[in-house]
Amino acid sequence: MSDETHDAVHRHEPPKGFIRKYIFSLDHKVIGIQYIMLALAAVVVGMLMSLLMRLNLSWPGTNWPILGTLFPTGAPGGVMNPEFYLSLVTMHGTMMVFFVLTTAPQGGFGNYFLPIQIGAEDMAFPVLNMMSFWITFVGFVVLMSAIIFAGGWTPSTATVGPIGGWTGYAPLSALGQIAGPGQGMGMNLWIISIAIFCVGSLLGALNFITTLLNMRTRGMSLMRMPLTCWAWFTTAVLALLSFPVLLGGGILLLLDRLAGTSFFIPGGLYVNGLLSGVDARFPLHTGGSPILWQHLFWFFGHPEVYIAILPGMGATSHILATFARKPIFGYRAMVFAIFAIGLLGFFVWGHHMFISGMSPYSAVAFSILTLSIGVPSAVKTFNWLGTLWGARIRFTTPMLFAIGFVSLFVAGGISGLILGQTSLDLTSHDTYIVLGHFHLVMGVASIFGMFAATYFWFPKMFGRLMNESLGKFHFWITFVGVYCIFIPMHVMGLVGMPRRYSSFTEYDFLKQLHPLVMFVSIAAIITIAVQFVFYFNLFWSIFRGKKANENPWEATTLEWNTTSPPPHDNFAGVIPTVYRGPYEFAVPGAPNDFMMQTDSGAEVTSGNGGNGHKH
C-alpha cells in the first residue's frame, strides 16, 4: 500500500485531554504501557502468593500475625489453613498465566512495538485495542475480588478464594459449596474473570493479525519482518483459535454451577453426605462428563503455553542478534520453527490427560506428537547458538537476560522429553517434576524474555536508559536463584512428591525431601526480594535514568528509526521505507557494523536476511 492511502486512512491527531491521552487512549503505545503496568501489578500479587506458599510449606503451622489480620478466614490466628494454601495455588497460577504471561509479552510489548516495527502508525483497530485492554483490566479486578470479597475480608460470610487450581477441574469446580470451602462465590468470580479475559484477548488477537497482514510499510515483506513480529503474529493466531474454546468451556462450567445444567457433572454423585437429587442443597445432575472439561481446558491450555513463550522467543532472537552484532542464524528456519511450534501446539493437549481416564490409545498418539514438538524447539536453540557463533557479544543487561532465556529454555524444556512419554507419566504426572518443568520453561524463561525486552526497549519507551549496574545485579541473582528454585523440584518429583499439597507432613516417603523444601524456599525468598531492585530501577529510571538517543543499542529495526519515545503517529508523518532484512549486522563493506532496515545503501550488496544459504 502506498504512503498516501496509509496516511489518509489511519492518521489521527494526538489527543488533548488527560483521559483520552492516558486512560482511554487509542494510542497503541499507551495501551502497550497500560498492559505492561497491569502485568507489573499482577506479577507482584502472584509473586507474593508464591512467597506465602513457600512459607507454609517450609514452616508449617507458624503464626504470621499479619496474615491473621488480613485474612481472618484463611489464616485464623495467623496460621494458614489448607484451603487458604490451595486458594493461593489457584490464584497464583491464574494470575501468572493469564494476567502476566499473556498480557506483558503480547498485549504489552507486542502492542507497543509490532506497529512500529512494521512501519505502521497505529494498530488497525485502535478502538478495539482500547477495549481489549479495558476488558482485560475488568477481568483483573474481578479476579482480585475473588480473593477480597470471597477471600476473607468480610469475616461473617467469607470462605477463601477459589481452590480448583488454575486448571479448575470439574466436577470439583462445578459442584458449588457442597464440595467444600473455596467452591462458593470465589469460584464463580474466578470463572467470570477468565471468561472476561478471553473476550479481551480475542479482540487483541484480531487486531494483531489484521495489523500485521495489512499495515506493513513499503518494502516490509513478510520475510523482512523482525522475528518478534513473527512471534506476535503466531501468538495472535493461537489466541484466536484457543481462547474461544476456553470461553465456551467457562460458560458451560458457570451454567453447571448456577443454572443446574450437567455438562461436566455425571449422575449418581454422593458429595459430602448428600446424594444428587435428593436434597435441595444438591440438585439432580445426570449425564455430564468430567473429562470433557479437561479436553476443553487443555485444548486452550496447551496453546496457551506457547502464547506465553513465543513472544519471549521472538524478543530473545531480536536481542541476541543485536548484541551479538551478527545476523540471526537461520532466519527462515526460525520462522518455520515458530509456525511448527504453533501448529503442533494444537495437537498435543492430550499429554496433560494420559492418566485421566481418556483412551490409552489416544495417549499414544498424543505422546508421539508431543515429543515431535521438541524438534522445532531444538531447532530454535541451535539457531540461537549459531547466532552467537563468531559473534562480538556486547554484554548489556538485555543481552544477559536473553542468554539467560536460552539457558532456561533448554533447562526447562528438555524435561518435556520425560513428561511427554506415556510410560514415564505414570510416575511423573502431577508431581513436582511437572512444577519444575513448566515453571522453568513457560514461567521463568518467558519472564526472562520479558526482562530482556524491558531493559532493551525501555529507552525507546521512556527516552531514558535503565541503570545497568542494578540491571546486572538483578540478572545475576535472579538467574542463579531460579535454577536453585526449580531444578530441585525435578528430583522432588522423582521421589514422588505430589503437587498441590498444603503440607508434606502426612507422608513418610516425603520426609527425606525436607532439606530440599527448605533450600527451595530460601532461594525463593532471596530471588523474590531481588525483584524489587528491578522495580526500583524501572520507576527510578523513568524519571532519573540517563537520557537515551534515538538508537542507543546501534540496532537495525524500525523502532530505532524514530525518536525516543516515538511521537503519537510513530514516525512524525514520515513513513519509513524498508530496503533490507531485520538483522544486517557486520555487513562487509558497510560503513558501520549495523545497517538499518531503512538504509538504502545501494553500494553494499547484502543479503535480505531471508536466504538461509547466503553467506
Binding site: P171, A378, F382, L385, G390, D430, Y501, S502
Partner: protein
C-alpha cells in the same frame, strides 16, 4: 562479563548434573512387574536429556566466553546460516525424539492397551473426598451389587453395597488396600464425588478415579510389604491428607484375610497394617 557468565552457566549445569547423578533423592525401589521397564525407559531418557542439556549449556557457555567483544575493531562473522546444518540438526533431533516417544510406549502398552489377565485378583476402589474405600468380593469372588442410592456415610456403607444381594453377603469394605504378591491385580476405579488419583510411588503407577466412570486398570506387585497410597489429583480442602496404605501380602495371608467375614476382616486388616513396616529406604 562474558567469562563470568560462562562460568556461572557451567557451574549451574554441573550442580544440576550432580543432583541427578548422585541419586541422593531418587525413585523409591520398585515393587511391580512393569516397574523395571519404566525405570529402564527413564534411564535411557535421562541419559539423552542429560547429554543434550549439558551439551547445550556447555556450548552456550563456550560461545559466551569465546565470542565476547574484546575491544578489537574487527566485526562479527557475516552469515545468515546454513541450510545444510538446519537439515542435519532437524533430522537428528527428530529421529532421537520420536524414537524415544515410540520406545516410551512399551511399558504403557503392556499395562494399558491390554485387559487384565484372566484370574486377576479384583478389588473395587471407591474414592471420596479425603477417604479411600476398597471393596473386596470375599470368598465367592463375586462382587455384591452396589448402587449410589444406597450410599450412606453415616451407616458406614461407603460404597453403596446392596445387602440384599446374596453375592454381597461375604463382601468386605475397608479403607486400606490388600493385594497378593506376584499375581495380577485388577482395580476397578470409581469416585463418588470429584476426581481423585491413585498413586503409589514404588509401584510406578498412577491413575485418576473419575466420577461417572469405572476405570479398570491392572498391575502385578512383586514385593511383600506396606506402602503409602496418596491422592495425586486436587480433590479439595484436605487433599494432602487423603492417604491410605497398600499391603502386598503373601498369597496364603491374603487368602486367610479375604475368607474372613466383614467385622473380622476389619480387625485382621488392622493387625496386618501394624505388622508390616514401611520400607526403610524412606
Amino acid at each position: 562479563m562474558g567469562r563470568a557468565l560462562a562460568v556461572i552457566i557451567w557451574i549451574l549445569t554441573l550442580l544440576t548434573v550432580i543432583l541427578f547423578v548422585s541419586k541422593k533423592w531418587w525413585f523409591p525401589p520398585a515393587i511391580s512387574a512393569h516397574a523395571p521397564a519404566v525405570d529402564r525407559q527413564f534411564m535411557i531418557t535421562i541419559v539423552v536429556v542429560g547429554i543434550a542439556f549439558s551439551a547445550a549449556q556447555i556450548g552456550l557457555g563456550w560461545m559466551v566466553w569465546k565470542y565476547r567483544e574484546t575491544g578489537a575493531r574487527d566485526r562479527a562473522l557475516y552469515t545468515h546460516g546454513s541450510n545444510r546444518l538446519e537439515m542435519v540438526w532437524t533430522v537428528i533431533t527428530a529421529i532421537i525424539f520420536i524414537a524415544l516417544a515410540v520406545m516410551g510406549q512399551s511399558a504403557w502398552a503392556s499395562l494399558r492397551l491390554h485387559d487384565a489377565p484372566p484370574g486377576s485378583y479384583a478389588v473395587e476402589v471407591v474414592a471420596q473426598q479425603f477417604q479411600w474405600n476398597f471393596h473386596y468380593p470375599g470368598k465367592d469372588g463375586v462382587f455384591g451389587k452396589t448402587d449410589p442410592k444406597l450410599i450412606d456415610d453415616s451407616t458406614l456403607n461407603y460404597v453403596g453395597l446392596d445387602e440384599t444381594d446374596p453375592n454381597a453377603k461375604d463382601d468386605s469394605v475397608t479403607t486400606a488396600l490388600a493385594i497378593p504378591v506376584n499375581r495380577p491385580v485388577e482395580l476397578r476405579l470409581r469416585s463418588k464425588d470429584v476426581i481423585h488419583s491413585f498413586w503409589v510411588p514404588p509401584l510406578r503407577f498412577k491413575q485418576d478415579l473419575v466420577p461417572g466412570m469405572e476405570i479398570k486398570v491392572h498391575f502385578t506387585a512383586t514385593r511383600v510389604g506396606k506402602y503409602e497410597l496418596a491422592c495425586a489429583e486436587l480433590c479439595g480442602q484436605l487433599h494432602f491428607k487423603m492417604k491410605s496404605y497398600m499391603l502386598v501380602l503373601p498369597d496364603d495371608e491374603l487368602r486367610a484375610l479375604t475368607a474372613l467375614p466383614q467385622e473380622q476382616f476389619q480387625a485382621r486388616m488392622g493387625e496386618l497394617l501394624a505388622k508390616y513396616q514401611l520400607p526403610s529406604t524412606y
